[in-house]
Symmetry: C2
Subunit: 198 residues, 2 copies
DNA sequence: GAAGAAACAAACAGGCTTGACTGTTTGTGA
DNA sequence: TCACAAACAGTCAAGCCTGTTTGTTTCTTC
């Protein structure tokens, strides 16, 4: 009674966490189609029975993975935002941070889910909602980081364009590495932003 | 000898064309994972034997589809570019044309192949090469349409940013329809371009 | 300490996909 | 006209994936 340390629930959490992380890893390494439940359980070091115990169907697992990825992305972004320099070069640093995020493994996982959701009815709802929410958060954060004033006409759209740009850069990066070109584009974009924001 | 009309080769071409168009249709409607060879042959109205005759393996079919999609995109872009208005609003019209292309079904098919290629070694090479080539063509075309002068510093990067931006907008459009937001972003971006290009 | 629940393990059946294989028709060149 | 090759048709087996089922261990609670 007094020793309510609940090691069982802890184990449960740990197992679920391992499964979700394995799922994300499979998405990054093998794509959505290559992410079979057997592969996930092997990668997680969890028996197939245990897996089915926690996530009765593949849909359950994938839905949970969608939420996990969304949370991870939010976390990564906030962490990266916290260590940005002040003063000159701030704009470029913000863009660099965004560019890094949209070329990170967790973005690759999100991209796989995003594209898979395009032709998977039950997935689409969840992905759309979470992505919209994350998008709003990211927008708000970027406005703040750049010191933008959304009451000025056009300023809001410029921030949106910034996020669409880095998404496009992220997509371009999935096949060939593109960091040199990306850096040049972001350099130029920083000039545009500094002229039109703040 | 004189009647070398070759109807056999014509039929061959027609069958291959039907198979490729069916493949693209499946990619758009069911995604890469949902594009099975049986589904493609049914959709094309081609027997499984005939399919295997023209494309011995699925990889052969998909590779051919990649080339087909790339050609289609080039064609669509050039056609759309041909009917652009001159004079005021030209910049916005170019952006609208690009935005339309990157939200079209053929772009969806390309996106499916793009993402699938991320975790498919033989596909990756072909997709990367063709996309790079198409990217160069599109860049060249956009420079011309906007009347940009790439010798001026930053102008080249501005055009690249434009293409990355519409790619990002296209990706955002895959799940939820986004046309209103897209229009506002492109309105704003047209202002930036007109200030910085030409 | 004993009953019951949660976590884990593993075998199994059903469905789907791919490509190999065999057979048939149609067109081409001699 | 005849031989040959290309196009087309359909069946079959092997493999993988999913989810169900049955059994075992570990923890909690009375």
């Amino acid at each position: 009674m007094t020793t309510t340390r609940v090691p069982q629930e802890q184990r449960s959490r740990a197992t679920r966490r391992r499964l979700l992380e394995a799922t994300v890893g499979c998405l990054v390494d093998h794509g959505y189609a290559g992410t079979s439940t057997t592969l996930v359980s092997e990668r997680a070091g969890v028996s197939r029975g245990a897996q089915l115990h926690h996530y009765p169907s593949k849909a359950d697992l994938v839905l949970a993975a969608v939420r996990h990825v969304s949370e991870q992305r939010g976390l990564e972004l906030r962490e990266a935002a916290a260590s940005l320099p002040q003063g000159a070069g701030r704009t470029r640093a913000v863009l660099g941070m965004l560019g890094d995020h949209f070329t990170s493994p967790v973005f690759a996982a999100a991209l796989e889910l995003w594209v898979a959701a395009r032709s998977d009815e039950p997935l689409r709802g969840e992905v759309a909602e979470l992505e919209q929410q994350l998008g709003r958060d990211t927008h708000r954060m970027t406005v703040e980081l750049l010191g933008a004033d959304e009451s000025r006409p056009g300023e809001r759209e410029l921030v949106q364009a910034t996020l669409d740009l880095v998404r496009g850069l992220g997509l371009a990066n999935t096949i060939g590495d593109d960091s040199a070109r990306r850096a040049r584009v972001l350099d130029r974009w920083a000039e545009v932003l500094e002229a039109g924001v703040g």
